[in-house]
Point group: C2
Chain length 196, copies 2
């Protein structure tokens, strides 16, 4: 036991985040009992209150973790695209696909905003919106898209994507709806492109 303490503390924090994330992502924030999921992590509510203040504080930490992962994924997608425009479209598609994942949908698009208010303007705009914004900035500098405020456009796309994802995920036949949704979404994206 050479380097405990700091390490043990970090471990406790990450255990709590992982346990909360699993509970929030499956049964949802409101149904998740702090006693239950801290117990599953081998801890108690005492540790949670100590590290995160309350249940909302833990949700915030969970969201920041997921947001970082989403940002990373978006950056990877745009990095491998042959053109910037293609990279942007790929990014948007990836965003919708992520929004279809139950954990992300539940935490980032349902419970998160409901419990914490508008997540998207915490710090200095979270990563995944900033990523879209940056892509739009580059496209605008290249003269590839119409004249539009890029942060606004990023938020429009963000809002549209998440609603598309909700629509698809809750549809009776998700595949059919997905086709319609993605086609319509790409049509909207295409209309942002400068006709050339």
């Amino acid at each position: 036991m050479r380097k405990p303490r700091q390490e043990m503390i970090a471990e406790t924090r990450s255990k709590l985040i992982a346990a909360g994330r699993r509970a929030f992502g499956t049964i949802g924030y409101a149904e998740a009992s702090m006693d239950d999921f801290t117990g599953e992590a081998g801890l108690t509510r005492g540790a949670l209150y100590h590290h995160f203040g309350d249940k909302r504080g833990l949700l915030q930490a969970v969201i920041m973790e997921i947001d970082a992962e989403m940002t990373e994924r978006l950056n990877e997608v745009s990095a491998v695209a042959p053109t910037r425009w293609q990279g942007f479209v790929d990014e948007c598609s990836a965003y919708i696909e992520m929004a279809l994942e139950p954990e992300i949908q539940r935490i980032m698009f349902r419970d998160g905003p409901a419990v914490l208010g508008d997540i998207s303007q915490w710090q200095n705009t979270p990563g995944c919106i900033a990523a879209l914004s940056r892509s739009l900035d580059r496209l605008k500098a290249d003269g590839e898209i119409i004249d539009i405020d890029t942060e606004t456009a990023a938020r429009l796309i963000n809002g549209a994507s998440s609603h598309m994802a909700l629509w698809i995920a809750n549809a009776e036949n998700p595949e059919a709806v997905s086709k319609r949704a993605v086609a319509g979404f790409k049509a909207m994206l295409g209309s942002l492109r400068r006709q050339q």
Copy 2:
């Protein structure tokens, strides 16, 4: 006292809906104690459970009431517009403005979806989306907009609008953000119009 009973019952129902609506719209669904707001209406939780099954049932009733009001308002807006395109743009603007009202924002865009899941595909799509959809159908028939699935477009606009509203409402300086948001939103709408 000639026609009580049915009338008293309806009155109880509407009292509960009004009380719940006020509580949900101000302090929010999760914070609203059923004992409190039924008490303010001169009733008890017994009446609520009898009429609506549970707290979620009441929320559902509240949402249906608000949705009907929103639909009515959208129809009025588009009815008085000089052209169909203008009517559509006005409808979208009205939609954003409604989404800025605290009660609507809280109940329809925050707590509603979080508690009940995707509201927009309950029955046969609620009124306010159907209203947008109808406007788009007419525009498409007139050849005024690009070829796009109208329900998808309505949902895209719906999602974009509500996120714009959230962005504005939670911004540090709502007026400035509102200008950017509305300008960007109209640019997006304009890009849906067939260039003529």
